[in-house]
Symmetry: C2
Subunit: 254 residues, 2 copies
Amino acid sequence: MPAALRPLHDGLALLALLSDASEAQGVSAVASRLGWPKSRAHRILAALVAAGYAARDDARRYRATPQVLALASGVMSRHPLRAHALPVLRRLCDRTGCDATLSVLHAGRSLAIAVDSPAGRPADDPFSTLGRTSWLHGAANGKVLLAWLPLAEQESLLSTLPLPRLTPRTITDRRRLAAELETVRAAGYAVNDRENHPAVFTVSVPVFDGFHRCLAALGLSRRPDDANALRLAEPLKRAAAGLTRTIAGLPPRS
Amino acid sequence: MPAALRPLHDGLALLALLSDASEAQGVSAVASRLGWPKSRAHRILAALVAAGYAARDDARRYRATPQVLALASGVMSRHPLRAHALPVLRRLCDRTGCDATLSVLHAGRSLAIAVDSPAGRPADDPFSTLGRTSWLHGAANGKVLLAWLPLAEQESLLSTLPLPRLTPRTITDRRRLAAELETVRAAGYAVNDRENHPAVFTVSVPVFDGFHRCLAALGLSRRPDDANALRLAEPLKRAAAGLTRTIAGLPPRS
DNA sequence: CCACCATGTTCCATATGGCGGAACACAGTC
DNA sequence: GACTGTGTTCCGCCATATGGAACATGGTGG
């Protein structure tokens, strides 16, 4: 039953494209990227502008307006995990000098719902951006989310997910990935050493709810040099345990 | 030329509604809030779910998913002002113990594009949420944005904006508001003393680009008790001046 | 200077697919 | 068991999205 409410579907796709694009996009660029006829791209861009979610440059190129933030504000302020995690992230990255990211599983990817970086420095880790998603097999947070997933879902994901090679070190073999997840579960934390970006090393631990279901993954990222997993893993585990304790009393949330 | 691309328009409206709503909404609730027939609400909700931006509860009620964050991530990470402002916000709120908010003018409202609160405490100010918008006449940031607007636009806004009473102290008279803006320009900062929310006191200063155009407003919020505007205004002014200096070399941005 | 290409915009006959009222199903309540 | 509130499905009508082609526009290079 595809092709339902096509204007809506297309509009959201276009908005996502604009949001992702680093530069303003023209009608033709949009049309070719999405495989649309120009007239459609034009029509939908005009509608997005009319709705205030996109703006047209002097050069007739389009970008997303800050109004899209309004769409996200509710989710950001309302998510209970996020609210409780923010102070924890702050302390973690101030103490370790790393970028801290809290991610949840969404649509087969790892989605960052809370982020912080050390005082006085913008985020280093290119994946440490609110709302940014990563491949599960490449990111430490992704491995954690995968490792503590109920078996049925884990197997289903493991067999259907594509495992593209993101860097030379990415795990692209399903058997090796399964073995890695075993290791992760045993150790209680996951490591990503330049497996999804050549300049990022991450350690991640799970955050549970009251029923020991893994709700999220909490990760610390730094440059790969002299990285010492254990040094990061211990404070991380303690922080996650604290979060788990705080969350345990709260109602669950998708 | 209204009523163009209605499914898109409606879908965005619905998504905004879901995002704003504090609780999950049922089909009927949505329909009545937007004045739609139930069938339309149902159809569009289904489409949003199919697109992954909404999720259906066990109780058949709908909420926005974290995927909407993905729409905002680009805008957040790409906005140059925001990137440079984040460390400044961090220092400000750690030193003063207040919530810090950077806002821009968007569609006749003040829109928060960067936010921070002191370490170890969630945000106090209910308006200190990324993407949240406020009335220009009630918020300190809004007054600043209004006060340094080019005269033509300022007058146009001043004469068209409704000035609803938000608290007993809100300025609802256009003449008084104009006088207040005069004062703000003269002082170099704006104050909002429970004019917006009974428990919020805010001081705000402008951030300029290289041509002395006011790009944004930088505000500090705290509880109204023992608030001392001058104590906050001075460090604020210094921080904003620093930001202005940093920004001056950067290309302008809507 | 003009031919050229790529881009943005407008137009239009067609039929796709959104439309909403009404009928249906399902709970929970008095 | 009648009732009121949900959410869901159905269907004939016709609004309106569709995309190709024609029309602008403007920058580039021969």
